[in-house]
Amino acid sequence: MDTAAVDQGSVQVGPAAGRLSNESFITFFMIAVLIGLFGMACAFVPNFFLPRNVLNLLTNYWYIIILGIGVTFLLVTGNFDMSVGGNVALTGVVAAWACQAAAASPNPLAVGLGLPYGVAVALALCCAVGVGAVNAFFIVRLRVPSIIVTLGTMMLSRGLAQVITRGAQRNTSLPEVFGVIGNTFLPGTPVKVAVLIMVALVAVASVVEKATVSGRRTYLIGANAEAARLSGLKVGQHVARLYLLSGLLAGITGILLSSEFKAGVSGRASGYEFDALVITLLGGVSISGGFGSVLGMFVGAIILSVVTSAATGLLLSPDWQFTLKGVVTFLAILAQRFALDRRNG
């Protein structure tokens, strides 16, 4: 029995203590939407229900989901990160360039730094975190709005990738090891190691988000940054760390994707920042901060995956995919707002 209730006569009549929080409500709501969409797709698209296809649905967007973790944390604090797509491209290109043999060659795009693979990866990750540091500097120290700063670094990082690849890609004279991690499958399954990394990162992020002081701070800052500051939270420092984290996650994604293609491609991952934002919003993260979860973002990614592959299965021309994605995203987010408003009266 609640001691407070015994203590005073004037307890306000409220909902039962066992009621779901708004956040769990939204996650369950989006899972219901997902099941509904999946059911419809199964009814209309041939072979949609096959285990192989279901597995694909769950693993297709591993790279967007890894990016989505950082984007979710930041959006919960009320900040955007639109630089992740460009950062993925930059990281992949830097890794390739650093790894390419240093021997002279008539093709300038075949000449790299000749570093060992491990050093090349470390260098590329440093670049990725560096982009996060630039974001953090302008947003936290100089108080420039995050959307402006990260749109700037989005173009800056992709621009650097284009300079390094002369607008194309670096795919020659790379050591064998470069292509290993992106093309290794879990023994006896069609599941890539990258997917395993994604699952591990989502699991860790969910624990950090819900069970640690650091995760709690993320929500407090998003709920009310001024109250957080006056309550003794180091708001700037925390947001800066999240930008570094988001940069690191983009770096990991960049290493994995460049390995998968065994090339550093400057045009890689274009539009990923928007996909990452879309799945975050689909998952119920509030665009004004303070609300949302990594698990919700994961559900959002699967919804996007179901919609795009159903469209492909219906032989819808690829030209229509973008439009369809837009409509579904819009409807899903509207439904979410509607459900939440109904619930809270």
Partner: protein, 496 residues
Amino acid sequence: MDRPDNVLEIRGLVKDYASVRAVNEVSFDVRRNTVHCLVGENGAGKSTLIKILTGAVGRSGGRILLNGREYAPRSPREARQRGISTLFQELNVVDQLTVAENLSLGREDTTLGFLRRTDKVQRMVGVMNSLEPSIDPRQRVSTLSVAQKQIVEIAKAVAAESEILIMDEPTAAISEGEIARLFAIVKRLRERNVTVIYISHRLDEIFELGDAVTVMRDGRHVATRPLAEVKDRAELIRMMLGKAVFEGYQARPAGSREVVLQVKGLSNRKLQDVSFEVRRGEIVGFYGLVGAGKTELARAIYGADPHRGEVLFQGVPLPRRPDQVIEAGIALVPEERRSQGLFTILTVRGNVPVMNMARISRHGFIRAGEERRATREAIRRLRIACSGPEKEAAKLSGGNQQKVVFAKCLFADAQLLLLDEPTRGIDVGAKSEIYAIIRRLAEEGKSILVFSSELPEILSLCDRIHLLYDGAIKGTLENGAGVDSQEVMHVVTGGR
């Protein structure tokens, strides 16, 4: 046209908010072409009355006659059309436009939406120059001082042939020299058939400028008199205070003499050389009207705003960042509960432990059981009326929200509490509960600084009272039977 002597007649005006009657059966007349002053303590109902006059809020009852005709504006725009303009503290000018453009803003002559050159602007500039020749109409408004911007707004009202100009604390943000210039202009407005309703906390201004004064208290009309019939400041203050009703102050046994906080020569943008000491177990009050520097002082000590000067807490210099100040053992209940104190979208459980997460965590992981237990404990101790730790803070009443903010500070285990307007906007019952909490904390040996613009609150709580005016301590008194609330009011309204 027959124009009555009274430009404005207010009859039985009432305004009810959810639970309080902000304006209660107010009736008085304003004579044409006078400067009519409006005074009263914070919360006396002046602002609400002005909001009704300017059409910002509706009334709950009563009548207003403007030039003998019924006046019930539904919007500020309608009020302006009927001839009532207002000079708010937040000036209504567009910085990026020139003076001339500002003067004609909203009153441009147009054809199909295109601006037409007419002599209207010239006429308005003429009006402004007759009031204040030094302002160049081609100047950008952003290059003007606050006082000059005020003059642009006054000129705009005059040129629009406003009959009544309401001025809300116009001298709060301008310098001495500029005040003299403003007064000269206000006096000249009478000749231009403009009636001024003038609101100020600075009583000397009232005597210098006013023809008549209306005193309000607790939402009621106390008196309206020609200023010639008001003997002195003391009489005006007596009318403003009436017989202040407050819970009596009970002298508490003098605790230890150990000095906990020493502030020496604290200054910043709003504060001038503030020095004082606080002992263990003492409740020290800072009383002043709006703009006197109370919030600024609390925030400066807390490290939330920059400052010069020395602050020693338990003998060591206090750091200058909120997180470090909290760690040293000081916590703040901020002025604005919802925007600065509370995480409204989170639950009570989400709010209570935030100032001291270390107490409910181990190795960075939150101990959920410990957190719930601590929240229940806070709910029980402060008697927060809620269905439990999972109740959303936004859904609590104002008084219970404030108790949650107190709970945060107590959870931080603060030895010294800074309370900025601790009972603003909460009902009487919750108020006395909060007073009881404050007294209990002092008995437990915590030192408490109360920053308030409510004299009864200060008088019923504090052992010692510092009077603030214009960012400086203008007087200090020990609380007790001998405190003269009129003397207090004299000091905080700028009297010497």
